[in-house]
């Protein structure tokens, strides 16, 4: 049996209601430029790209409007944004890495994420203002946090519209970005979990990937914190680890045996505390959207 739920109709009565509201709105909405036009002879491809672009512009405008005022500090709690005449993006510093090394990790992870598409050979196709392959991430995409433990190196990256959690120097791929991808919004609480995921131990890997044998499994939660947060804990399966806080972000990873099998349904709990040990409220649900 397929695990995907069977298709459903809109709830009873809502199809007609939605149709009526839609057509009522169309009477007041022209085309994108506000006027009725005769069709232009544009290809469907161009139209789809335009639709995507329109949404992208809306995102950028929204973020800019929500972050009015100059800023000269590293603050992912207010998501990285497009540089404007009133804002200055200060690239975060990760201890132990040069700016060039941070940029290389950012670029490699973004290209691994494949935001802008793949070339004819199926490999990521670099493009965009920073050569990241993710033009939608904007020019201020950067590395904010990096941990190294028994499961290897794990980087946390934020851009204009994305968050990426990326394994570095893995057995099969130098950069392997997974999870994340959400458009970070400005924090209104003490923290938000932008990525919550896990990976089975390497002993369960396909025979095609012998390099993974012996690698531990893990569960991880990562996200952003406000300036009030001095401690974050990540709990799953009755175990709790201290997250690594850096540049207004956190990564907390629980390590499991190499034979451990990840479950798609178990949840991770995240708690944040201030300097006095008081627990602080999350910005919305602590589990990943939705």
């Amino acid at each position: 049996m397929s695990p995907l739920p069977a298709e459903r109709d809109l709830p009873a009565g809502r199809h007609a209601g939605m149709r009526d509201r839609l057509l009522a709105k169309t009477s007041t909405i022209g085309s994108a430029d506000g006027t009725e036009r005769r069709p232009r002879r544009l290809a469907l491809v161009a139209a789809a790209a335009t639709a995507a672009g329109m949404l992208g512009v809306a995102v950028i405008v929204s973020v800019t409007m929500n972050n009015v005022g100059p800023s000269d500090t590293v603050d992912p709690a207010a998501p990285p944004r497009q540089a404007t005449s009133t804002t200055t993006f200060v690239r975060p510093v990760v201890e132990g890495l040069t700016p060039a090394q941070s940029d290389e990790i950012t670029r490699g992870c973004a290209q691994s994420f494949g935001g802008s598409g793949y070339g004819q050979d199926g490999m990521p196709e670099p493009s965009g203002p920073t050569g990241t392959g993710m033009p939608e991430a904007g020019p201020n995409i950067a590395l904010y946090n990096l941990i190294e433990d028994e499961a290897g190196k794990l980087a946390l990256i934020y851009g204009e519209g994305v968050s990426l959690l990326c394994t570095i120097d893995g057995p099969a791929m130098k950069y392997n970005a997974g999870g994340g991808g959400a458009r970070p919004h400005e924090l209104t609480g003490a923290f938000d979990v932008d990525d919550e995921s896990g990976s089975s131990g390497g002993d369960l890997s396909d025979d095609k990937y012998p390099g993974y044998r012996g690698l531990p499994g893990y569960r991880v939660a990562a996200g952003r914190v406000s300036a009030d947060v001095t401690r974050v804990t990540v709990t799953a399966d009755g175990r709790t680890v201290e997250a690594v806080l850096r540049n207004g972000t956190f990564i907390g990873r629980l390590i499991y045996p190499s034979s451990w099998e990840a479950s798609a349904t178990d949840r991770i709990t995240v708690h944040a505390y201030d300097a006095d040990g008081r627990e602080l409220p999350a910005d919305g649900p602590t589990s990943r959207w939705p």
Binding site: L4, R8, D9, L23, R41, A48, G114, G122
Partner: protein, 203 residues
């Protein structure tokens, strides 16, 4: 839902000339597919409903920029829906939080069985999405478009603005990566990706 025999191309042409009833017929014809596509991207029937409205409003606004290459407008609508879900994540997330506090509208009550069924759908879909979220977004969306919603590789390539071989590569990578991430003993990879073979294509 509709008895209008006109093709999508004909209806689209009519909509472009301000024929709102033609656009209404397009809505009748494809709302269900868009609704289910959005559900698979959000694991929430409520959010999917919002996304359907936003998708068709966007389609209306952009209708003058679209000339159908194929008879069906559905692939393009699904691509717009994907962008809507991606771009409106913040709004939808807030809405999801509100939905947890506010009872569903009572004007058109659902049958209890239907409500229970929809809740079960959401639980199952969340489990699938949590597995799929390990994939890069481009692969995730190709999987949803081609495998889950049955859009052909050629149509997906057209609406995504990339080569067909790239669509195939994304779906192939998605399958491989899911198997690797979840391990061969996990049931999800097989279930998640081996659901359909659009257009009878081999994958």
């Amino acid at each position: 839902v509709t008895s209008d025999d006109r093709t999508d191309r004909s209806l689209w042409e009519g909509a472009n000339h301000g024929d709102r009833s033609a656009f209404g017929t397009i809505f009748d014809r494809h709302a269900r597919a868009v609704y289910n596509h959005c559900f698979r991207l959000t694991a929430s029937w409520t959010l999917a409903e919002d996304a359907v409205s936003a998708t068709f409003l966007t389609a209306w606004r952009k209708r003058a920029d679209v000339e159908l290459r194929h008879e069906s407008v559905l692939p393009w609508l699904l691509a717009v829906a994907t962008n809507v879900v991606r771009g409106e994540r913040r709004t939808l997330r807030r809405r999801a939080a509100l939905d947890q506090q506010v009872p569903a509208p009572a004007a058109v009550p659902d049958h209890a069985d239907d409500v229970a069924g929809r809740l079960d759908d959401q639980r199952r879909m969340r489990a699938v999405l949590r597995a799929v979220e390990r994939l890069p977004r481009a692969q995730r969306e190709a999987l949803a478009l081609c495998v889950w919603s049955g859009v052909s590789y050629a149509d997906a390539a057209a609406v995504l603005g990339i080569a067909e071989v790239s669509v195939r590569a994304r779906v192939s990578k998605a399958r491989t990566k899911l198997a690797r991430v979840l391990g061969p003993g996990e049931a999800e990879p097989e279930h998640v990706v081996a659901l359909a073979h659009p257009g009878g294509d081999d994958q």
